[in-house]
């Protein structure tokens, strides 16, 4: 194995792949390595894998730059080892289209229309007084989180696993805002638009809709607060939709229009994009039915140790990380290996159905290297992280078990 070690004695990625012995491997979640000051390697199979790290975006700490304009900023995985709430300055940033860089609070309006009794144009104060103020702790995760780790690779934003984060969102219930206009009988969906608009004439606007039963949930919000602060502009100031348990594509930012529909939504980003195969496919399949991506599946990550890290042989080893149930409560997290190593993890405090939960596990005695270990989350409704990637051509909803290798020394 010596030939697979680099000058610092760390196991190289090539050696890991070569040493995998036929096990179907996906790129390890914490393959992230700081290459040099300001450059991180995301461990994307086949590359290009290096990305700039910069603190130069307004209101943001050090973030991985996926795109400058409109901004796509990824959270370094090390942030998730610091707690179950992601600070505002480290939360990932994702815009489909260009957004305004300035918003005047007094001039902002939210139009509520479509299949309603009386269309209204609401000020921010109207929204804030629309009902009871609610706070929900919820994970905000991009549908394409982990896309760059797909194998075979797919086009799109080449995220590692950092297009996610958990915050305390505060606002009013969407249903209380809808009540200001009065929803008509026969309403099927509620559609949202924000201030971000296409750069080209005739291109589809980024609008998204959710079914009526989701819209009327007690925890679906029109939110203005993020971790006790006003929403930062990069996160959708002044208002964004929050749909706990659903991917953030529905969490429309800079909310300016709420439209009640009486039919299915045939708009581009619902009917044509953000869709996944209705049944599992292979990369060779071309024609298959699709469904809109909606609720999140369970995921878990080791955050205490990076891939290739060296641990003490003959000693106990405690691993730590975060897990999520997605749209259902987390039931358990297990440490899994490639040859039967399997230990139940201890779950930390329950911070809510839709929040990250810390887990820890102690291996009593590290006798040898720990190749391809991972953690597997399961929900109370029976959803379990799969061993094999549910590959799809858009790289959506990744939730394969993420694995790392630790060396005993």
């Amino acid at each position: 194995m010596t030939s697979g070690n680099d000058a610092s004695g760390k196991l190289t990625r090539r050696a890991l792949i070569a040493g995998a012995g036929g096990v179907a491997l996906t790129a390890p979640v914490l393959a992230q390595k700081l290459i040099r000051e300001g450059v991180i390697d995301l461990g994307l199979p086949g590359g290009p894998s290096e990305r700039p790290l910069t603190p130069s975006f307004p209101g943001k700490g050090e973030m991985i730059v996926q795109r400058i304009r409109p901004p796509l900023l990824e959270t370094p995985m090390s942030v998730f080892n610091e707690g179950t709430i992601t600070p505002n300055d480290r939360m990932f940033v994702r815009w489909n289209w260009d957004m305004p860089t300035s918003v005047k609070a007094a001039a902002h309006r939210v139009a509520v229309g479509g299949a309603v009794k009386a269309p209204v144009s609401l000020t921010l104060d109207d929204i804030a007084s629309a009902g009871e103020h609610i706070e929900v702790t919820a994970i905000n995760q991009c549908a394409g989180n982990g896309r760059g780790l797909s194998d075979p690779r797919v086009t799109g934003t080449q995220w590692g696993n950092g297009a996610m984060g958990c915050a305390r969102w505060s606002g009013v219930r969407l249903k209380d805002v809808l009540a200001k206009a009065g929803v008509d009988a026969g309403a099927t969906r509620v559609r949202f638009a924000g201030l971000d608009v296409p750069l080209t004439d005739g291109a589809p606007q980024f609008i998204k809709s959710i079914p009526m039963d989701i819209a009327m949930r007690d925890d679906v919000l029109v939110a203005w607060g993020m971790n006790g602060e006003p929403l930062p502009l990069l996160h959708g100031y002044p208002l964004r939709i929050v749909v706990p348990g659903w991917f953030s594509t529905y969490w429309v930012k800079m909310l300016s229009t709420i439209e009640v529909l009486t039919s299915e939504d045939d708009s581009y980003y619902v009917a044509k994009s953000y869709r996944v195969p209705a049944a599992p496919i292979t990369p060779e399949d071309k024609d298959f039915d699709t469904v809109a991506i909606t609720a999140m599946p369970p995921r878990a990550f080791i955050t205490s140790h990076a891939d290739g890290a060296v641990v003490a042989r003959g000693k106990p080893l405690t691993l730590r990380g975060i897990a999520m149930g997605g749209d259902a409560a987390l039931a358990r997290v297990d440490l899994v290996g490639e040859d039967g190593l399997l230990l139940p993890c201890k779950l930390g405090p329950d911070e809510g159905l839709f929040a990250y939960r810390e887990w820890t596990v102690t291996i009593p005695n590290v006798a040898a290297d720990l190749p391809n270990i991972g953690v597997r989350a399961a929900t109370i409704t029976g959803a379990v992280q799969p061993d094999k990637l549910n590959w799809n051509p858009s790289g959506y909803a990744r939730n394969v078990i993420e694995r790392i290798t630790l060396r005993a020394s």
């Binding site: 080449q158 203005w224 044509k272």
Partner: protein, 111 residues
Amino acid sequence: MRALLLLIALGLLAGCDRAPEVTFADSSITLPDDPMDLPDLPGRDAVIANCTACHSPSTMLQQPKVNREKWESQVKKMVEIYKAPIDPQAVPAIVDYMVAVQAQQADTEAP
């Protein structure tokens, strides 16, 4: 936590005549520059003229290596779905450039 929320809620209900407790201030940011760091290969001018209005050069250089047909279909998607005002004459040069850039990247990243 639930109890605390309830207390806040009751407080709100009790005082529904008063102004909302949330205040909104104007918000404004300045984004960093987006440098035009595209390798000097044939087709660069066509890419700058037709693609960079929407695509950061940095993003264009971060895509996984795909074949010429995939790049052709990507350009087609930009024209047909996203209504990109791309000069049809420039399409072959754009595709050539992306293929050449990725070949160059593969050379520099090869082990």
